[in-house]
Symmetry: C2
C-alpha cells in the first residue's frame, strides 16, 4: 500500500509497504544479474543503502542450478539480499531476442514461488516503430495477461505494465484498464528504445499519457530508466521507481554517469568526482587497473551518482523546488531539453496537481519556466476570475533595466495612489493588477534582468489578449521610466481606488472562484493590518473573523465564519471535502482527515487549497488545507487528505 | 611564473611557480582567520588537499602575539601550514571599517618579512556606488602604491589589484598600467559588494574589462569569490584563482553551499549530500549537534563542494566543455543567468580566444548558447569569408519536426545533386551552405527539436542579412518537407555544382582567410578520398600534397607545400609564427615552439589554428598548430606556443 508523504505537483515522496518491508519512493532499484554481479547484492544493501533491487526471474528459471536454489531457498537467499526484491518477467528478453520460451502463467507463478516481493506480468513490449493495430493488439494481450496474473499472485505484489507504444490514447486506455485490476504497482514499459535513442520528448508524452490513466494510489515504475540525468524530469511527471542495469553496462564500456551527462573514460582528462568509489583516484591510477577492477570502480561510481541524485530529487520535492532542479538537469543534453520543452503541451494536465503555492520561490531558469503549471495557473485564473474595477487603466511593461514582477510594487503604488487610474503591470506571468501583486508566484518570483524573446513575446501576447477580453476607460501603456513620469504628471489628486478592498476581493475570487468575494464580503468589512508591514492580516465582516491573509504566499486562510459563508453561497461539492460519519466525529475535534474516510470532494481542489470539511448533510465539521486532489483522496487508502486547522462544533 | 597547460577559450589550466611550491590553477584558496579557524590549516592541507590558503596580514600585525610569532618563526609556522600562503593587506578591512592604521609600505614589508609567498598591495577598494572621479583617484593611488610595493617585495610574489569600480575603461586602464609593473599576480578587487547583492551581470563586465587590460601571463585572482555556483562562469572569463571566507561564514549562519544554490539548514528538509562531511548525517543527527559541531560540519561540506566544483571545472576545460558547464551552472539563480546573458555583449573580445574547434560537441542549453563565441565566429566568417558560387540558390529553413544543422546532410545532398541549384540551410548558426556542413561547430552541434523564439529570430535575421548582402540567381525558401518535394520536382537533370571543389575552396577561405583558396589551389587539383566514408582526406595540387582534411572538425591540416603556397601568397605576418634563430634550429627538426622564443606572430591566429613557423627572414622552418594567441605567445615566458607537426628543412 502506498502513502503520500510529501509532494510537489505530481512529484511525490511516498512510503510503499511491500512483503519485504517498507520502501521510500522515489527510489532506484539496481538491476542484479543473477549470474554475474558487478557489485554484490549484499554490498548494494549494506554499503550503498539500496533497500530494493530488481532481478530477472526468466534468467533464473532458465538456469537449472539457479532455478532449483531459488525454488528451494527463495530468491532472497539465492542473491544474498536482505531487502526487497522485484523481479522482471522476461518481457525485455522477448523484445531483445524476439521471443521467450515461457508463458505468462508459468513465469508469474515462478516469481511467486521463489518469494519475489514484487513480480511482473509477461507483458508485450510495444516498440516505438509499431503501428496502431499491432500496438492495440499487444495492449489487449497485456491487459488479458495481467488479469490472469492477478489470480496467481498470492502475497506477492504484482506489477501491471502499461504498454501502448507512442499512441497516447492507447497508453491512457491501457493504464485505465490496468487501474481497475487488482495489481499493486505500474511499470511503464516499452520505453527503453526511446531512452536509448534520446527521444525524451516522446518519453514525456508516454509518461503523461500513462499517468492520466493510472490510479494515483499505486507507484509508477519507469522501466529501464537508469541514468541520473533523467530522474528529476521523470519524478516531476510522477514516476516513483526506477531501475538501472546501466550502472554496470556503462561501466563495462568505461562510461561514467554524471548528472551533467555521460563521459567515456577515454575522453576524460581527469577524475573530478569525490564519491567513495572515485575518491583518491586519478587517470593514472585508473589506467593501472585491470579491466575488471576498473569496471567495478565505474559501476560503483555510477551507483553513487544515481543514489545521490535520487536524494537531491527528494530534497527538491520536500522543499518545493522540483521544477528548478528538473530545468537545470535538462540542460545536460539538448535532447533532454526537448523533453523539458514538451512539457508545455501538457500544462493543462499538470495544472490539476499544481499546488496553490510553494515554500520555495519561483526561479526562472530559461524560457521553459514560463510554461510551468504555476505560470499557466496564474494566466488562466487571471482571465477567468479577475474582474476589472471600473476605472481607467494604466499598463506598464517592465523595461529591460528594471526587474520583473518581484520588485515593482513601490512604484506601482506611487502611481496608483495619486491617480484615478488603476494600475496593471505586464509581467512574464501576464498582466498583474496591483491587487494581485502579493500572491504566489507573482511576489515570490525572480527573473533575470536581461530578457529573452520568448518572455517578451508572451508578455505582448497576453497584453493583447487582455485588451481584447475586457474594456477599459482608458489604456496607457507604460514602457520605462520616462512614461512613468508622464503618467504621474497627468494624475489628478488623490486616488478613488481602494487598494485594500480591491485586494481582498481579487484574491478571494482568484483563490476560491468567481463570486467568492461577493459571498464573503457581504456586510460591513473591517481589515486588521500588521502594524509593522501595513499588510492585511485579518478580514472581519459584520464583526466576525472570516479570513486571515498569509504573509508568505498572499492567499487567505479560512476561518469558520468564512467557511460558513462559502458553504452557504456555493452549492456542494464546491470547496468541500465530504467525509463519512466516523471521520466527522474526529474532525470536529480538530483532528486531520485521512484517506479512506473521504466520500467525495470538489474536483477543482488543488494541493494546499483551503477547504471546508463537511459531513454527508453538508454540515461543516472542520476547516483545513487539502493535501491531495479529488482523484487522489478517493484513490489512496492511507495518509493525510486534509490537514485540519480547526474543528467546527455543531 | 605561469605556464599554460590546457585551455578552452579564456578558461585555462596553468601551473604557477611560487616561492612555496607549484600551484595548479584554477584553484581555491580557503581564507584562514589567524585568530580562529573553523577548519585547521593542517586539515585543509592534508585532508582536503588545498595546496594554498589565504590569510590576513593586517590581522596578524594588529595582534602583538601573532605578530611576534609571525616575525620570528614565519607565517607558515604560525598557521602550521606546509603549503603556499597568500596574504591580504587590510584593504578589505578598510572597506568594512572605513580605514586602517597601516601604510602600504609597512604592510608590504610586513608580509615579506613574515615569509608570505604571495603578498598584496594595500590598494583602494573602489565601491560600486562610487562616482567616476573618486574611482579614478583611487585607481591612481592603487597604481602608485603598487609601484612602491614592487621595490619592496623581495622574493615574495606580489599581487597588484585591479580596481576601477564599475567603470570599464578605468578597470581596463588600471589593468594595463599594472601589467607594466613587475608584479606577479592580479587580483580583481572591489567586487565583493557585487557578489553580495547578486549583481553578476556587472561582475561579468568588470572581469572582462580587467582581462582586456591584463597581460595574459599572470594569474587572475577574483577576490572574495567563494561560492561554487560562480566558479564555472568566472573561469570561463579567465579567472584563475578564488578565495573563500564564505565556507566558514555561511556555516556560522547554517547555510550549505551547493552548485545548485545556497540552502539554509532551517529550510532544508533532508540532507542530500554524500560528501565526506555529510555522509551518514541526517536532519535528526544534525539537530542533535551543538552549534559548534554543526558549524564545523557545514564548513567542511562547503569546502568539499567547492573543491569538487573546481575539479569539475578543470575537467571541463581539459575536455572542451566549459561553455556547457557554465551555462548549466548559471541556471542556479536568475541573477547568475543575467550574468550569463551579459556575455553576449562581450563576444567580440571572447572570439579572439575562441579555439578553431573542440573535441567536445556543441550542446545547446538555451538561447544563451547562440551567443557563444563559436557561434559568433561562424556568423562572422560566413559573411566575411564565404563566397557564393554563381548559381541559383535554395534556402531551407529547418522546420520544427526536423533537427537542426547536425542531421540534414543527406537530404541536402539529395537536392543539390539533382538540381542546378546551390543549397543553403538556415541553421541556428546562420546560413550553412553545403560546402561548410562538416566544419566545427556546424557538424558537431546538437539542438533540441523544439525551437524557441530567440533561435527562430536569429535564423530569420541572418537569412535577411544574407539576402541583403549577396545576390543570387534565384532564391527559394524551403520550409519543411512539402516544399522539399516541390524543389525536387523542378530540379532538372544532373548537377553542375561540384561539391568537392566547392568544399575545399570554402573551407580554405573560412579557415585561412579570404583568398586562401586561390592561393592554395592554383594548379591541377586532385582529391584523395576515404574509401569507407567517401570524405575528402588529402588535397594534391600539381602532384604535391598541400593539405589534409581532418575528419573530426572538418578543417585542414597544413602540409609543407601548402605552407609554402600560403607564405608566398600572403604577406608576413599572416598565418606565421616568427621565431628566433635558436628556436628555428630546433623547429626544423620537428621540435615544438616554446614561448620566449617567439619574436612575433599573426594577430589573427586563434588557439588550435594551423600556422607556419618561420624565421626572421620568413623562411619556413616548421608547420604546426598554435596553442596560444599572439598576445599570449609574446607574454608567456614558458610553455608551448606551437605544437609542431613537421619540421621543414631549408
Amino acid at each position: 500500500m502506498l502513502e503520500l508523504l510529501k509532494r510537489d505537483g505530481l512529484a511525490r515522496i511516498c512510503s510503499l509497504e511491500t512483503p519485504g518491508g517498507m520502501l521510500e519512493t522515489p527510489c532506484l532499484l539496481p538491476v542484479v544479474n543473477p549470474r554475474i554481479s558487478t557489485v554484490s547484492p549484499r554490498e548494494l544493501y549494506e554499503d550503498f543503502g539500496f533497500k530494493a533491487l530488481i532481478t530477472n526471474s526468466y534468467i533464473i528459471r532458465n538456469n537449472r542450478e539457479l532455478k532449483e536454489k531459488a525454488l528451494s531457498s527463495g530468491v532472497h537467499e539465492l542473491l544474498d539480499f536482505p531487502g526487497i526484491i522485484m523481479t522482471d518477467s522476461g518481457t525485455f528478453q522477448s523484445y531483445v531476442h524476439g521471443e521467450v520460451d515461457v508463458g505468462n502463467r508459468e513465469i508469474v507463478e515462478f516469481q511467486r514461488d521463489i518469494g519475489s516481493d514484487i513480480g511482473t506480468v509477461l507483458d508485450i513490449f510495444t516498440e516505438p516503430s509499431w503501428g496502431r493495430e499491432r500496438t492495440s493488439e499487444a495492449v489487449e494481450v497485456t491487459v488479458e495477461r495481467t488479469r490472469e496474473a492477478v489470480d496467481l499472485k498470492g502475497r506477492m505484489m504484482l506489477g501491471g505494465v502499461v504498454q501502448g507504444s507512442l499512441f497516447e490514447d492507447l497508453r491512457e486506455d491501457c493504464a485505465r484498464r490496468l487501474s481497475k485490476l487488482n495489481v499493486d504497482i505500474h511499470p511503464i514499459g516499452g520505453v527503453v528504445p526511446l531512452m536509448e535513442t534520446y527521444r525524451f520528448a516522446d518519453l514525456v508524452d508516454v509518461i503523461v499519457a500513462s499517468k492520466k490513466g493510472l490510479i494515483p494510489s499505486r507507484p509508477v515504475h519507469l522501466f529501464g530508466a537508469g541514468h541520473p540525468m533523467i530522474f528529476a524530469l521523470a519524478v516531476l511527471l510522477g514516476c516513483d521507481m526506477f531501475d538501472s542495469a546501466s550502472y554496470a553496462k556503462y561501466a563495462r564500456d568505461g562510461r561514467f554517469m554524471f548528472v551533467e551527462g555521460t563521459m567515456h573514460l577515454e575522453d576524460m582528462k581527469r577524475i573530478s568526482c569525490d564519491c567513495p568509489a572515485c575518491r583518491g583516484q586519478s587517470m593514472e591510477s585508473m589506467s593501472g587497473m585491470n579491466q575488471e577492477e576498473r569496471c567495478r570502480l565505474i559501476a560503483r561510481h555510477n551507483l553513487h551518482e544515481m543514489k545521490i541524485e535520487i536524494e537531491r530529487v527528494k530534497r527538491a520535492i520536500a522543499e518545493g523546488s522540483i521544477w528548478e532542479l528538473a530545468e537545470q538537469r535538462c540542460r545536460s543534453h539538448p535532447a533532454l531539453l526537448s523533453g523539458l520543452r514538451r512539457l508545455a503541451e501538457h500544462k493543462v494536465f499538470l495544472e490539476k496537481y499544481e499546488p496553490l503555492s510553494r515554500d520555495s520561490p519561483f526561479f526562472y531558469t530559461g524560457k521553459e519556466s514560463l510554461d510551468r503549471p504555476s505560470a499557466y495557473r496564474y494566466e488562466k485564473r487571471f482571465f477567468e476570475r479577475y474582474k476589472q474595477p471600473q476605472m481607467d487603466i494604466l499598463v506598464g511593461f517592465e523595461d529591460g533595466r528594471r526587474p520583473y514582477a518581484s520588485t515593482y510594487s513601490s512604484e506601482m503604488r506611487a502611481v496608483s495612489s495619486v491617480s484615478d487610474a488603476h494600475f496593471v503591470v505586464m509581467s512574464p506571468f501576464g498582466p498583474v493588477p496591483i491587487e494581485l501583486d502579493e500572491i504566489y508566484p507573482i511576489a515570490q518570483s525572480l527573473f533575470p534582468d536581461i530578457k529573452d524573446a520568448d518572455t517578451d513575446l508572451k508578455m505582448r501576447k497576453l497584453m493583447e489578449r487582455m485588451s481584447h477580453d475586457q474594456t477599459y476607460g482608458m489604456c496607457v501603456i507604460w514602457e520605462g521610466e520616462e512614461t512613468l513620469k508622464t503618467i504621474r504628471s497627468i494624475a489628478r489628486g488623490t486616488s478613488k481606488f481602494d487598494i485594500d478592498m480591491s485586494r481582498i476581493r481579487a484574491v478571494a475570487d482568484y483563490q476560491f472562484g468567481e463570486g467568492a468575494s461577493s459571498i464573503l464580503f457581504d456586510g460591513e468589512v473591517k481589515l486588521v493590518k500588521s502594524k509593522t508591514t501595513l499588510r492585511i492580516r485579518n478580514v472581519l465582516v459584520d464583526g466576525a473573523h472570516v479570513l486571515s491573509m498569509r504573509a508568505d504566499d498572499g492567499f487567505f486562510t479560512l476561518r469558520p465564519e468564512g467557511a460558513r459563508r462559502l458553504r452557504n453561497g456555493f452549492t456542494s461539492p464546491k470547496l468541500r471535502v465530504i467525509v463519512n460519519k466516523d471521520s466527522a466525529e474526529f474532525n470536529r475535534q480538530g483532528k486531520n482527515v485521512f484517506c479512506g474516510f473521504v466520500l467525495d470532494c470538489d474536483d477543482e481542489i488543488v494541493p494546499f487549497d483551503e477547504v471546508i470539511v463537511v459531513d454527508e448533510s453538508d454540515t461543516i465539521v472542520a476547516i483545513g488545507r487539502a493535501m491531495l486532489t479529488r482523484t487522489e483522496m478517493l484513490a489512496f487508502k492511507k495518509g493525510l487528505a486534509v490537514k485540519v486547522r480547526e474543528g467546527v462544533a455543531t
